[in-house]
Amino acid sequence: MTAVDEVELRQHFEATIAHDQRIEPRDWMPDGYRNTVIRQIAQHAHSEIIGMQPEGNWITRAPSLRRKAILIAKVQDEAGHGLYLYSAAETLGADRADLTDKLITSRQKYSSIFNYPTMSYADVGVIGWLVDGAAICNQVPLCRSSYGPYARAMIRICKEESFHQRQGYELLMTMMRGTTEQQAMVQDATDRFWWPSLMMFGPPDDASPNTARSMGWGIKRHTNDELRQRFVDMTVPQAQKLGVTLPDAQLRWNGERGHYDFGPIDWQEFFAVVKGDGPCNSQRIEHRRRAHEDGAWVREAAIAHARKAVAR
């Protein structure tokens, strides 16, 4: 390719983005865009896959058949989300087996939230309410991502997330109508998941150096702090309706800003968890690695069978 070609291709790419049109798999795109989108989609896919574990932990101990069926369906959806996203990453030339390898060797990350343990069944409700709630805040704007296959995967995912959040909130409402012990479980789960949920939006804007470039490319639509504020504003009235207290003494309505003010986030904890020092990091990766290795013979047998069928 000549230098002139490259200039023309780049102009075409930039014009497509400027017109808020989608970039599609066979389009020319700068390497930086391709690599950033692959990393973003892979990290998102890994989060969906690892995200099955904290809740999967409770499937065998669900309090009723109804709750068990709901929880299985939810965890199965998260597997589906991971697969939609791996599929989108592959349109950019990423290899799925390679992505799995990068996850289980900790060369690619997943959301820090899934490194916290689930201590009681109330956690299933709080995860649906807060963690899926925060995920929805993050994901709805990504339905307009400039990368077409990612945007389309996000539309499918967002449709399914609404069930996740609602089943969680309904579970919590049921528990809040129950015994004082059940109410205490809901409060305890809320206390443990509130701050990690706020951390899901990532570091504050002044410590998020790639935000401007990603927003220029249309693969990020709002800053971390904007999305975090939106989540807080949406969640406070839900907490009030539920009758739980969010564990932040500085949380109050600011009429001037038209938003809730909230207390400082412990970013040291966030970076420690991202670095691998959360309560469950090694357990999560180890579990994923074991599942992958235990499944190897099935994958091999299936392909051997398929080859034999062709030969016959």
Binding site: E24, R26, D27, W28, A73, Q76, D77, G80, L83, Y84, S87, A88, E90, T91, R96, A97, T100, D101, T105, P149, R152, A153, R156, E160, H292, R299, A302, I303, H305, A306, A309, V310
Partner: protein, 97 residues
């Protein structure tokens, strides 16, 4: 780490949302063969009755135009505006047109 590679080929998945509609591409998945791809496609892409019919096709069997070829490839249609109904001026008072 090549021993992790599954070697399951990639299949593209197309769904007919309901009777009367075309099949539409929804994504892809890996499977050992087409039969398995169909079953996986059902589990992955139709958990909420999103389709009444599924096609799967090995991604390697798809031939596609490239965006770089766009101009010459789509040019034959470009200069045939008379294929579009708006090419023809019909007075507003002619009914049912």
């Amino acid at each position: 780490m090549s021993q992790l590679r599954s070697d399951w080929p990639l299949f593209e998945v197309f769904l007919r949302g309901k009777r009367g509609l075309n099949h539409v591409h929804v994504g892809s998945l890996h499977a050992a063969d087409a039969q398995m791809a169909l079953r996986h496609a059902r589990d992955l892409y139709t958990r909420r009755n999103e389709g009444v019919s599924i096609w799967v096709v090995a991604a390697s069997d798809i031939t596609a135009s490239s965006p770089e070829e766009k101009d010459p490839f789509f040019a034959p249609a470009g200069d045939k505006v008379y294929r579009h109904p708006t090419f023809y001026d019909i007075p507003d008072d002619v009914p049912h047109m």
